[in-house]
Symmetry: C3
């Protein structure tokens, strides 16, 4: 059973590990800013807020990515997860570089999360169809998903 | 293996997806409030604080629900998860509607989380009993759990 | 399949449950402080901040621990998770007892998280080696990991 399970999740594990590294990078930034300036400066506020917004969406991202990967197909889910990490990095850097008047909002990566959400949903619906009506479109859906995941590369 | 796994988790996946939708709804509220009023108003504080309290408990909820669902029985865990989402929605709406003097506290859904916690714990204990003493009460426990989960409907 | 899966995760489930209890303990502290003193006192700020820092790292910890436990070996991962919970408790107590001038920083448990991260990474690399080159060092690695996990006990 062991190899079988690993086969189906190792890409997801890799993306999870990369997200953990990114989290550590964010935390390091906060830690550094915190130690350099004891006072609550605007720069500290900015870094802390950016990290907070990123961490707020993190559990949702992890949950949806794993659901999508397990319910439907591993490779597109891991790829979308990777794109999400890139979007998060961009958001974080953009947030820190902004003047204090204009911050780039609270949300980011909406398209990628929607894609992952849709994948999970289609996976569950397909499972129910296969179970109750014995009609399994899994292969078609996986092909479509792989093609669709390339669209996430569009800016 | 694939169908077998899906069989045991698809309800949990559905509840997880619903919780992701709810998180997105909360985030949308914060985003909207943030854009409408640039200044840090009391309304923004309220929404942000409600979202924060909800998101604080989210990883714990997801972890305990999946443990309960995998260790013991899927249907009652998913049902309890659903009740938790309802309680969270109520808490969020209640928090936003309050006057600033009286907020409904930091915690919510304590009973539901305790139930899920207990389910996981009983599941692990039962596994150990089955492993070391070869006495498997799983069927009895699952029946009791299903009946007990109905008690969560009590206000 | 059921018993087989449980066999490989029940220690991880136990540690997850313990972390949930600890989260509940932290939340209880915040709730109590919040109710006792309606005003935003320094003590409330301290407790709230300690809880926030602990909860910030929580999803990362859970994700990395489960990856390490599933990809490589259950017992050392659960042991490292246990050590992390002890470190977190120490951090929380230390944070609350500090004078407001010196707080113990934003991060904690770096060594333990690195250990879990490394375990996951080695597990995935070993899976790829076993898959493409048919060389499986899993047994050696598990023995080394078990020995290495004892090093986490060093202060």
């Amino acid at each position: 059973m062991y190899v079988n399970v690993m086969e189906n999740i190792f890409l997801l594990v890799l993306v999870t590990l990369m997200s953990a590294v990114q989290n550590a990078f964010f935390a390091q930034k906060v830690e550094k800013e915190c130690k350099t300036h004891n006072a609550k400066t605007a720069a500290f506020e900015r870094v802390y807020c950016a990290t907070r917004n990123c961490m707020d969406a993190y559990p949702t991202f992890i949950a949806v990515m794993w659901c999508a990967g397990i319910c439907l197909s591993q490779a597109p889910a891991a790829f979308a997860g990777l794109m999400y990490l890139v979007a998060r990095q961009k958001y974080f850097v953009g947030y820190m570089g902004q003047t204090s008047q204009s911050t780039p909002g609270y949300l980011f990566g909406k398209r990628i999360l929607s894609f992952l959400f849709l994948m999970s949903f289609v996976g569950v619906v397909n499972h129910l169809l296969a179970h109750y009506f014995a009609t399994d479109y899994k292969d078609y859906i996986q092909t479509i998903t792989k093609a669709a995941s390339a669209l996430l590369l569009l800016p």
